[in-house]
């Protein structure tokens, strides 16, 4: 019997690459997950994404109901429609998960992110940075003679745009919170 000619690198087509012929269009969705605020719950959510090979574009978490001890995790993720459905179903299986909402499909939603920018420079660049910050409604939360720390909130795209503008003006450090999101209108 002949030995099979297995091409080099053939193994990257994993045995378990059973992805069906569903749409392969990549979509970005914002998921809101309400969970019991107990030890390890974030590890369960992150472990699910890591273990099953899903993407996390951004993730925020904080307790939102102190009495009920519930936390809200907001996850922005990218995948095919079938993968997004799987992510939601898999999240729903986690025992301390109470609710999973796909804010991208459940009607309009507001998304906000907070970012801090450290911009260093002097002279005209410093003035220009201040002027742009004003246009973007960014606040100055710290200042020295040669630097500013701006605080800006908004949709992630607005923060991206602000970062682009600040880069030539001496942008040195950025800290972003990731997206927090709520559906619009009555719950």
């Amino acid at each position: 019997m002949s030995a099979l000619k297995i091409k080099k690198g053939a193994n990257k087509h994993s045995a378990y690459n059973l992805r069906p012929t569903f749409s392969d269009q990549q979509e970005t969705h914002t998921l809101a997950v309400l969970v019991d605020n107990e030890a390890g719950v974030l590890a369960r959510v992150i472990g699910l994404f890591a273990g099953r090979g899903y993407n996390i574009d951004s993730l925020t978490v904080a307790e939102v109901d102190h009495e009920g001890k519930l936390s809200r995790i907001t996850i922005v993720t990218t995948g095919t429609p079938q993968i997004i459905e799987q992510i939601k179903a898999q999240l729903g299986r986690i025992v301390p998960v109470h609710e999973v909402h796909d804010l991208t499909v459940e009607g309009p939603a507001v998304e906000r992110e907070l970012a801090l920018f450290k911009v260093e420079g002097s002279g005209e660049k410093r003035v220009e940075a201040m002027r742009l910050a004003d246009i973007f409604r960014a606040n100055v939360v710290d200042s020295t003679l040669s630097s500013f720390v701006f605080e800006i909130t908004g949709a992630p795209e607005k923060i991206d745009a602000f970062a682009e503008l600040m880069r030539p003006l001496g942008l040195n450090e950025v800290a972003r919170t990731g997206v927090a999101a709520l559906s619009r209108g009555n719950a």
């Binding site: 019997m1 002949s2 030995a3 099979l4 000619k5 297995i6 091409k7 053939a10 193994n11 087509h13 994993s14 045995a15 378990y16 059973l18 992805r19 069906p20 012929t21 569903f22 030890a39 390890g40 590890a43 369960r44 472990g47 273990g51 079938q82 459905e85 799987q86 179903a89 898999q90 729903g92 299986r93 986690i94 025992v95 301390p96 109470h98």
Partner: protein, 606 residues
């Protein structure tokens, strides 16, 4: 005593009584664990003691309501609990120590997770004030077991212990069942707190719905009424749903006269002797079952999950069919194969509604379409894909299992298996007429599962005939359990099909890797008869076809554990087989040559 003082006296007595009542419900964490287990109706635990669970073992010593089976390895404790759970429908309970005790249980937990077996594992942990200090026998047990349990808990206060244990039993057995783990530090076991009985425990928010959506059920009924080439494809979910589900399935199959096939995990839900039975499907499934799946126009998946051993290459899986999928776990639906009619719910509840609606609409099926379909199926059946000939005195494994079936089918029989060729042959050649009679490691494919599982089954069914169909390589992986079988007088029969090879690995090497048999045999196998005797059990060896029946009878008749070393043909291939990368209608049958059967594309599938 003055009249006004009398009232005071009365009040004081009452206060003492309430205090006493509170006192009586106060107990140590260790005692609380045993109380919880009793409350939950547990009669058996499988375990192994160690430093971090000594207070619990002290409580186990001082009671008789719960029997403790001392295994020889923690992995075996979990597999035994799986055997117990799968054969009784009750959750299996395991008690092991911290560190190595917990890490040894990981394989069993993963096995139970993939096969959806309800297991509650209690692990000891170093005292809370030492956690994180790399203490002796410390491991991050909840961290390690998070991905291989349905849920797990680290209990840091004795006051929370009893409620956590009740919650754990609820989670393990509700929805899609699975293993759970509770990690209990030693100081939590020593400290005292009030005990919370089940009826006072808070209600868990975890309540998966069991009723299916009625609109979808009606859609399924409409599809049943018009289908010309329907097939039921059932899985372990039917068995997990309980005996009512199997009963309803049988009723539905009888009433509609549709053909039915099942996955490895679902064998026994519909009787193997039933007239609509096509046999198991999948990679080593029967020809008629796989062709029916490929050619059907309506596939009704009940409690199965389109595993890759079933679908083969998904692009070519049952191309012309409408697919209905009943599952209690929403994540199973549309995971691999798109479901046209998805129904989330418990199998028994959904089948009950399907039957009700179908009957109320006049019990319609397409009779003439069905007749043609059955004619086609009978054609496929006539291929007789499991046919073999026992020609020489060298025992063929198929023959060994056929004789085992013939000689044990009238017994009150439970079968467990290890993993490999023998497992597939057992699924092909043994018949299961009832659910909960067949225990095998399907999802994880854990070599070493069968022997401890047989121990667990025998503990639950002391007077039944429990046989582990094994290969010698798998069996050796947990052979230390001979000690358990002998100590607890468990007459488990170890039916070893000994080909001195890792048969399935060898088969794949023959088909896929140019017959280069890399490390797929053992050159130093033990003498199994002497091994049995060393443990105080009985050993039987048979290597002649003529002696086989006598040997099997001797094995059945012996009142105690037996190792049966059945020497079989060394190079037998397990067929039929859907080569990797091929669709269901391209099967290898036993007569066909296996030469060059698997294309290079298939080689990348395992």
């Amino acid at each position: 005593m003055r009249p006004q003082d009398r009232g005071l006296f009365y009040v004081r007595i009452q206060r003492v009584e309430t205090e006493f009542e509170n006192m009586s419900r106060q107990m140590t964490g260790a005692k609380m664990i045993v109380e919880c287990l009793k409350d939950q109706g547990v009669d058996t635990i499988f375990g192994y003691p160690g430093g971090a669970v000594l207070p619990i073992y002290d409580e186990v010593f001082q009671q008789n309501a719960i029997q403790h089976i001392l295994v020889r390895h923690e992995q075996a404790a979990v597999h035994a609990a799986e055997g117990y759970a799968r054969s009784t429908g009750k959750p299996g309970v395991v008690l092991v120590t911290s560190g190595p005790g917990a890490t040894n249980a990981v394989t069993g937990l993963t096995d139970a997770l993939l096969d959806s077996i309800p297991i509650v594992v209690l692990t000891g942990q170093v005292p809370t004030f030492m956690i994180g200090n790399d203490a002796f026998q410390e491991a991050d047990t909840v961290g390690i077991t998070r991905p291989c349990t349905k849920h797990n808990w680290l209990v840091k206060e004795t006051a929370a212990l009893s409620e956590t244990i009740h919650e754990a039993f609820h989670v393990a057995t509700t929805g899609r069942p699975g293993p759970v783990l509770i990690d209990i530090p030693k100081d939590v076991q020593f400290a005292s707190a009030a005990y919370t009985p089940i009826k006072k425990a808070r209600v868990s928010h975890y309540q998966p719905p069991v009723k299916g959506d009625m609109a979808s059920i009606e859609e399924l009924v409409a599809a049943i009424e018009t289908a010309k080439r329907p097939v039921f494809y059932t899985g372990g979910g039917v068995i997990n749903s309980g005996p009512a589900a199997s009963q309803l399935l049988r009723e539905l199959v009888e009433a509609t006269d549709f053909p039915i096939t099942s996955t490895l995990m679902g064998l026994g839900a519909y009787p193997g002797s039933g007239k609509n039975w096509l046999g198991m499907l999948g990679m080593h499934g029967l020809y008629e079952a796989n062709l029916a799946m490929h050619g059907c126009d309506l596939m009704i998946n009940i409690g199965a999950r389109f595993d890759d051993r079933i679908t083969g290459v998904v692009d070519a899986f049952s191309p012309g069919s409408k697919k209905a999928h009943i599952d209690i776990d929403p994540s199973s639906i549309n995971k691999v194969i798109h479901a046209d009619i998805p129904i989330v719910g418990d199998v028994a509840h959904v089948l009950e509604d399907v039957l009700k609606v179908w009957k109320s609409r006049g019990r319609k099926t397409d009779k003439s379409g069905l007749q043609e379909w059955w004619a086609k199926i009978d054609d496929w059946r006539s291929v007789d894909c499991l046919k073999f000939e026992q020609v020489s005195q060298v025992i063929r494994p198929q023959h060994a299992l056929s004789r085992l079936e013939y000689l044990t089918k009238d017994h009150d029989r439970y079968i467990t298996t290890e993993v490999g060729q023998h497992q597939m042959w057992a699924a092909q050649y043994l018949n299961f007429d009832d659910p909960n009679r067949w225990m095998t490691s399907g999802g994880l494919g854990t070599m070493g599962y069968g022997f401890p599982a047989s121990v667990g089954v025998q503990v639950a069914h002391r007077d039944s005939l429990v046989i582990n169909v094994a290969g010698e390589a798998s069996w050796l992986m947990n052979m230390q359990e001979m000690g358990t079988a002998v100590q607890f007088k468990l007459p488990v029969k170890q039916f070893i099909l000994n080909n001195e090879r890792l048969g399935m690995v060898r088969q794949w090497q023959e088909l896929l890797h140019g017959e280069r048999y890399s490390h797929s045999w053992s050159e130093a196998l033990p003498d199994f008869v002497k091994l049995a005797e060393a443990f105080g059990a009985k050993g039987i060896r048979v290597d002649h076809a003529d002696d086989l029946d006598e040997a099997i009878k001797e094995m059945i008749a012996y009142d105690g554990p037996v190792i049966m070393d059945c020497l079989v043909e060394k190079h037998e291939n397990c067929l039929p087989m859907i080569p990797s990368g091929a669709p269901h209608n391209e099967m290898l049958l036993s007569e066909s040559s296996t030469k060059d059967a698997i294309g290079s594309k298939g080689a990348v599938f395992v």
